[in-house]
């Protein structure tokens, strides 16, 4: 269990810059997420931490030790790959035991630890199976067991759930969090799925265009995004400039604001002012929307401003309905453009 420090790391593939001066401090035992759209450099950063690539500049430390130039096999890592990467010529137990062999853990201890690791991922008794006989979810569990069985000081997970179906994905992310917390290892988890990150991470870094845009807890990053890109990437966001903010709430705190759709309340037409906040209502027209069962996502036109609104337990509404949107001024979060 060691902290991981990334300092001023830059990397480019040929002439294409991928990472530009990335710095992160990841605490010991933390489950830390790298979140971003494809091409933002998150996987490259993970590969640098793993040692598959060398940074052009910058330093990576595990604990106090500079590992920047250390080859992968000497970094004491565990890694879960997007395509699992189980070795097809070894059986399940052979895959899990490989890392222990490298650590020269022998005989009965090795067997016991392989069994324990398989039990931890719910695959007791699968040791003699061929890798090809397993389902996607089971392969994922073997990959996880293989990564943690060596008790690595850092666990790396590269989009580990992206090849699973939605249901299994939800089940596995709880599983991964449980195993990480049980082993107490420092884990770095790469994903483009913001729901996965918000639900699972201790802290996360949102990466945009090869830079870290924001680091924080899921709640901080969602509620207080630093800029428009982060706001848009983490869920839906209404971005309002100074004039729009004044028109909707009567005041503005900055040049650009993020307003989350679920912070907007809809009331019937003609309601001048609603709720304990005392904020004024603005007349609007419903343009269209999607009913999603427990909630609905509407698009409304509030005197020329298009807004996305999420309404829980929605009443029957249809396009063309006149409504009043009610916004508390404190819910407008100032963001950088």
């Amino acid at each position: 269990m060691v902290p991981v420090t990334i300092q001023g790391v830059s990397f480019s593939y040929g002439a294409t810059p991928v990472l530009d001066g990335v710095s992160l401090d990841i605490a010991a035992g933390e489950l830390f997420f790298l979140l971003g759209a494809s091409g933002c450099g998150k996987t490259t950063l993970l590969r640098l931490v793993a040692g598959f690539e060398r940074p052009d500049a910058g330093v990576i430390r595990f604990g106090g030790a500079d590992v920047t130039a250390l080859p992968t096999e000497r970094r004491n890592l565990g890694m879960v790959f997007q395509n699992y990467c189980l070795w097809p010529h070894l059986d399940v137990a052979g895959n899990v035991a490989f890392g222990l062999e490298m650590q020269r853990v022998g005989g009965s201890e090795r067997a016991a630890r392989v069994d324990a690791a398989l039990a931890a991922v719910g695959l007791s008794g699968y040791g003699a199976r061929k890798v090809g006989e397993l389902s996607g979810g089971q392969q994922q569990r073997v990959a996880l067991a293989r990564a943690v069985v060596t008790r690595p000081q850092v666990l790396l997970l590269d989009e580990p759930l992206s090849n699973l179906d939605a249901r299994l994905r939800q089940e596995m992310r709880g599983e991964i969090r449980r195993i990480c917390k049980q082993s107490g290892t420092t884990a770095i988890y790469v994903t483009h799925d913001q729901a996965e990150a918000l639900a699972t991470a201790d802290r996360l870094a949102v990466m945009v265009g090869g830079r870290v845009a924001q680091v924080g807890t899921p709640r901080e990053c969602y509620a207080r995004p630093v800029d428009a890109a982060v706001a848009r990437f983490l869920g839906e966001a209404n971005l309002l400039d100074r004039a729009a903010a004044i028109r909707l709430t009567g005041r503005a705190n900055g040049e650009l604001h993020c307003l989350r759709p679920e912070k907007i309340r809809l009331a019937g037409a003609g309601a001048p002012s609603v709720g304990v906040t005392g904020a004024p209502g603005v007349a609007a027209v419903l343009i269209d929307g999607a009913y999603q069962g427990d909630r609905a996502q509407w698009t409304v036109d509030a005197s020329g401003l298009r807004l996305t609104v999420v309404e829980p337990d929605p009443p029957e509404r249809k396009a063309g309905d006149a409504v009043t949107v009610v916004i508390a001024p404190d819910d407008l979060v100032v963001v950088q453009p």
Partner: protein, 567 residues
Amino acid sequence: MNRSLNRSWLAWTLFAAVALVLVIGVVVPVVTVAGVGLSPAWIGEVLRHPLQRAGLGNSFAIAVVTTLISLAIALPLALIGWRLRFRGQGVAEALLLAPLILPPFVGALGIFQLLGVHGVVNSAGAAFGLWLPGHGPDWLGDHRFAVVCVVEALHLYPFLWLALAAAAARLDPGLIEAAAASGASRLTILRRIILPLLKPGLFAGVTVIFVWSFTELGTPLMLGFDRVVPVQIFNGLTELNTNPQPFALVVVMLVVVAASYGLAQLIAGRQPDAVVVKGAARSAGRQVRGWQAVLAWTPYLLVTALAIAPHLMVLALACGRDWHGTLLPAGVTFDRFRDALAHPNVVPSISNSLFYAGLATLIALVIGFAVAWITARWKPRGAAALDALAMAPLAVPGLIMAFGFLAIGVWLSQQIPALKPWLDPFANPGPLLIFAYAIRRLPQVVRATHAGLAQSPPALEEAAAACGANAWTRLRRITLPLIAASLAAGAILCFSFSMLEVSDSLILAQKRDAWPVTKVLYDLSSVLGSGPAVACAFAVWTMAFLAASLCTAAVLTGRSLTGMLRE
């Protein structure tokens, strides 16, 4: 930082070492031959001398006619296979590839019995009353040119068929349907749509066959057709020190080969991108059943029967007793198989060939794996050039390469007498033969290994690194086991084809007790009396060995023989 520098230094050392071996094995022989023979006086003399002019003309004519016959065989078969689907098509197509594993050199032994004045064909003709017994046409005397062309075409058509079938498989059926919808007749579609689209595959195959038949030594040599360039070069070897003529002939040959490649490139041009169908291509085939399927099978069986007839003849000759002027032998005997193994030259030649081919395979595996790793995994600048260099032995005729090795060996042992026991083919042809075999069969090993590496994702090795395995352990525990089947297939192909290699063996093995199998076969076949029959029995042994090792390779890789040869 130090360590990564260290690693790239190691990798570049490997790159340099492999490149050096390839340059020595591929570039130097060709350059040497060109350099030694490139004298205007000698080349002028060769071009003026009536015998050599006749040889050049004959070689050129053989190449043209062989190519045309191959085309006449392969194009219809490729079109049938593309348009029709019938039961057992896979088997029919596998049969077509039989010539790839049957050395034409061996088949030539059977040709005499088949087409000799007192051979099977003439006996059959006499039986049907076409001519009096013993007075049939002298095929091998009067029609030797035609016989050489047909035998070579029956050996070489698979290359063209493979190229055409692959090109046809990439044709988008929609293009043909569009032409039909525009009102084009079948013949017009063939002429205006299909053939132009097949052009790149066609030229690739045609070039290979043209070059191969222009430089083929084994077939005309065995059939006694002396007035062609390769045989003239071979016969000139005995007076190499006094007569520069073979070198000049090789240069002329090299020029013709290079010009053929260049011309093909120029005419064929590039494959238009639109032709390539990505993903699930619709099958263009029409399912046929019953008598139509039988009809579809017929050309496949006919071509295969013609192609393997000489080899069946070799088998029959090995078993037949007193076979002269009759349709069938007087009796059956298996003594020849025993005699063959008891012949004083045979046993040493088997152990020689096993030794040469074994060592050559080992060398080809090491170099081939290094090349494949560099081109499939590391991919540095220059990887493509390295790959091209390793694949070049496919394009450079065996005769030219063999001649280059001979020239280097002779020259080096003259310059540095200490090297004479190792490099002079007249003193010890072993090292040269081993290296020549290895280089000759390197393309097969590189392709097989490259395919294996390309199929096993590099992330599997990264996963091992993440588990703490160092580079050597990753190679030993992950990479090599994963591609073991591919390596084994490449090794067996390399080994078995080295056992039956002709050009290098005939030219480089200049010392009797170092003769490999093929040289002994050639020698036996020219011994009067029982020689040819014993040679046939020996040839049957070698073909059985080849078949067994190819089947082993197929079993090891879990793939069909056809799939392996297609590679």
